[in-house]
Symmetry: C2
Subunit: 251 residues, 2 copies
């Protein structure tokens, strides 16, 4: 059995991009979450139905993002997703982003858990909720590359206060904002001069409205001679998210 | 002669909304700017052509926004615009946002100037640039309501550092972000409990990447018994933008 796929197209407005004339990493996550929610709707298991019928909601714990080419402002992209496999606690969802000629621009692997909205604790994946995806029931879902732990010798650090607009319709911080904080800590010259080719990000603890987070990063050259930035978002003593980003020089 | 109108539809994704389940004011400006740029493209006078052929670009100096109903997440709206009139230095552009039944949700009046991209100074409006809109050449363009000057007794104040993602493809801060800073300074309970019905905003000085701005606001009840917030964004001693927002209680 192969899981059901769902596709839609999206044309990238200028406000989903930045000074590089390409989509921001945060917006890349926003649009893939949108396509997954559209699939959920067509299958009768969207976030409203989950809340109302089960008191649960999906949350992403980690993404592994491979970028052949960052989608550009005004470009029309085709987004495809499928809920590939799951076990008792974890679901593995894949995304593909293609240009109009069918070239793969971005591939995203993601791991999801179901959270009880009241207790904010992970729950087992109800078979009624997962059945419509025709996902494969597996013993172990794929393990995504774990982002590195940041060293103590920081190259970059900035503080951000969580804003009202960082909070989603569901009352939680939209995960995509972590990537905004992670990228913004890098110098503007670096952002203009480089484009991400691989992003591994893992979310560990929720941050709350009004609280301050520290975005810290180190920069080094990896074994393949590529620039690697290692990121950590902390709220007080809690680690909220960690990420490793590999970059190449912008064309 | 009546100016040419241009329309398109837009379905509001969750990430253009906030915890109120409605579009943010900043995203409202982003989508109307997008529809105006799409009209510019159809008329052969988009931002790339203006830069390449004339070394100029349009910028908005003020908006007057009347909101009957804030567009909701997942709602499909129809956006219509026209470059209604102009004189030597100013162009008056109108926007209408309707729901699918044709009810007017939002009406936006805006004043634009042409800026020389090198000198960052306002230039006269070249007749070649304005001709395609079939705008009316007038002596005086309409004067939009001037936002109030903020008092010295502030009710709310927060500082923000201009982020890399606040900077547009054209290297300037996207005007919409001023509204994010203005709204975010208000308490979350206020944002959840109220919806804007009128926004008058005026942009005075550009802010630069990396600089800190202070968003300050006062709250009072106006003569009609409605809640009014008066806003100011300052960068150092320079006033960057001022606004008056009238609110009603959210339903």
């Amino acid at each position: 059995m192969t899981a059901k796929t769902f596709s839609e197209t999206h044309t990238i407005p200028y406000y989903e991009g930045n000074v590089t004339n390409h989509m921001t990493l945060a917006m890349l996550l926003n649009v893939v979450i949108l396509v997954s929610e559209h699939q959920n709707e067509t299958l009768g298991v969207d976030h409203k139905q989950l809340i109302n019928n089960y008191g649960t909601g999906w949350i992403v714990t980690s993404y592994s993002i491979k970028i052949n080419q960052m989608p550009a402002i005004d470009q029309t992209i085709k987004l495809t997703t499928r809920g590939t496999s799951y076990n008792k606690y974890f679901a593995f969802r894949e995304f593909w982003i293609e240009d109009e000629a069918g070239n793969e621009l971005v591939k995203i692997d993601s791991i999801w858990v179901l959270m009880n909205e009241e207790t904010r604790k992970v729950t087992t994946i109800d078979s009624e909720i997962i059945a419509p995806y025709e996902s494969e029931n597996v013993k172990k879902v794929p393990r995504l590359p774990r982002p590195e732990k940041i060293g103590s010798d920081l190259d970059f650090s900035k503080k951000y206060q969580v804003r009202s607009n960082d909070i989603d319709f569901n009352g939680h911080v939209n995960n995509a904002h972590y990537l905004d904080w992670m990228v913004d800590v890098l110098p503007m010259d670096f952002i203009i001069g480089h484009t991400p080719v691989q992003v591994d990000i893992r979310f560990e603890n929720e941050v709350k409205y009004g609280s301050w987070v520290e975005s810290a990063a180190t920069q080094e050259t990896n074994d393949a001679g590529m620039i690697k930035t290692v990121h950590c978002i902390k709220s007080g003593e809690d680690t909220s998210a960690i990420a490793t980003i590999i970059w190449k020089e912008a064309e």
